[in-house]
């Protein structure tokens, strides 16, 4: 009996001892053989600080067609700090003053003086001098879209146009290069040239959404720039600048880019149908000019 008590006292003491020791001794090795101590991360890429304006021009050059008239004209303003932007779509028949050439349709500026004159004409119209000009033709546009494996575009209403070849149901449609071109060129729709110009902007924003979905790493960006380089003429942009612009574009949520058409009306000049710029456009230009974002329009 007494020896039992002694053993019990010893057992209690040993238990206390183990408890105290366990408080201070390190955990058994097998419980924490390897553990993650720290994860550190840092990221940096140079981007433009200020507002950037890019003029995107699609010209109608193709085999059998003389000249290089601008068929699609878009002034894109991006505000990096706000993460917002504006796509101002300018109908190709807009009647403007072309520096050194007098009044004419804006698409003639490209024939007269190429990207440089196009940029100066935009400045004469809007008061905004584009920082960069990106220009492509029909072939470049279609092959660029094809190389990016097509683009999904939300078609706003059914189309069945023999002239452009645009035949689409009213839903999101995955378009090949040729189909995207047909959608962009179809002018036999309600709103005519104005609506067509907006559709062109829609294709560009849809392509941006597609690219963001497919990949936004630096390697992806280089891949996209590679496609651009081989199918478009890029004026006055170094590869480093273009990379920074590409990263900026991919950081931009297309839903935060306003897709607006230059306000105007239909008119006649010299026996040809033209688009006249509405007086309200001056306010829009001023709104766009200050920070690349439309606050009041």
């Amino acid at each position: 009996m007494r020896s039992h008590r002694a053993l019990r006292a010893l057992a209690v003491s040993v238990t206390v001892l183990l408890g105290v020791a366990g408080r201070f001794l390190p955990a058994p090795a097998e419980r924490a053989a390897i553990r993650i101590d720290k994860v550190r991360a840092a990221s940096y890429e140079p981007r433009p600080d200020g507002v950037v304006f890019v003029l995107v021009v699609g010209n109608d050059y193709r085999p059998g067609v003389d000249g290089k008239r601008a068929d699609a004209i878009h002034l894109v303003g991006v505000n990096p700090k706000q993460g917002r932007g504006t796509m101002l779509n300018i109908p190709r028949d807009t009647w403007v003053a072309i520096p050194g050439w007098g009044m004419n349709k804006i698409n003639a500026a490209n024939t007269f003086g190429g990207p440089d004159l196009m940029a100066r004409t935009i400045r004469s119209l809007t008061g905004i001098m584009p920082d960069f000009v990106v220009m492509t033709d029909f072939g470049g546009f279609t092959s660029m879209v094809d190389e990016l494996h097509g683009v999904r575009v939300p078609v706003p209403f059914p189309m069945d146009d023999a002239n452009s070849g645009a035949r689409f149901p009213a839903r999101r449609v995955k378009m090949s290069g040729a189909e995207a071109l047909a959608f962009s060129r179809n002018r036999h729709i309600p709103g005519g040239d104005f609506r067509r110009s907006q559709h062109q902007g829609l294709v560009i924003l849809s392509a941006l959404a597609e690219l963001r979905h497919d990949g936004r790493t630096p390697a992806d960006t280089l891949h996209y720039l590679g496609v651009l380089y081989r199918h478009a003429e890029v004026q006055g942009v170094t590869p480093r600048e273009l990379y920074a612009l590409g990263r900026l574009a991919l950081s931009l949520d297309p839903r935060r880019v306003r897709n607006v058409v230059l306000p105007g009306g239909i008119g006649q000049a010299g026996g040809q149908s033209i688009v006249t710029v509405a007086p309200t456009a001056q306010g829009l230009f001023a709104d766009l000019r200050d920070d690349g974002v439309l606050q009041r329009h």
Binding site: A6, A9, R40, L222, H223, G226, R230, P239, R240, Y243
Partner: protein
Amino acid sequence: MVHRHCCAWQAGGVRIRLRKRHLAALVALLLVAGVTGALLVIRRGGEPELPPPVPVATAYRAAPLDITKVTVVGGRPGTRPRTLGSGLRRELAAAIERHLQAAVDEPLLSGKRARAYEKTFTATARPRARHDRGVLTDEALAPATAVARRGATAELTVLVGPDGKPAIVSAEVRLRLAVIAPRATAADRATEGFEVDRRATLVLVPERGEWRVEAYDVVVRTQRTRALPLDAFLWPFPDLTTDRNDAAR
């Protein structure tokens, strides 16, 4: 007859008798007090002092950067992208290796602040790289007593400009290191190790005659390991300089 006492002492005319159970309790109590006291002493700095950190690594195993994949994009309008020439491939590998050596290996091995690493960045990126020093370099683990590269790989995407010249390179770099921690002593070398897994996207552009880092995205995972095998290192390491130069090449 059963003896009631197991022990008896005579001291100063006083006879002390202990029963068995009393003795067991006393022994256990002394044991508890002794061990607890010893543990508390250790916790309060009674640990034998470690020798001062070793100023330079005494072992280093290099693994030259291995370029595992190259993709060339861009080029002149209407042309297909060409392949990367062996000269440019070597040039790019050397630039990445130069960056890794300056930011990671050098501070670990020398125990000094990384001095040359800022020069591996472009002028545009340098101020930010200085700010991100804690992540871009492994100064925090320096000075290591031993460093071994488990592997160093890079996948390259090369953008060729319209003039046909390589203009921008994106490098997906992975560097895995085994490091003996700076506080390690000769006795506990096997239990004071770190595994560093460094994954970085580096965007390189040519500037002032060299490819330099224009942009980066770096994630570093540091794992402490209790059982770092000693065979992770070449030990003893005969000629540090020779192997480091080999790695740089």
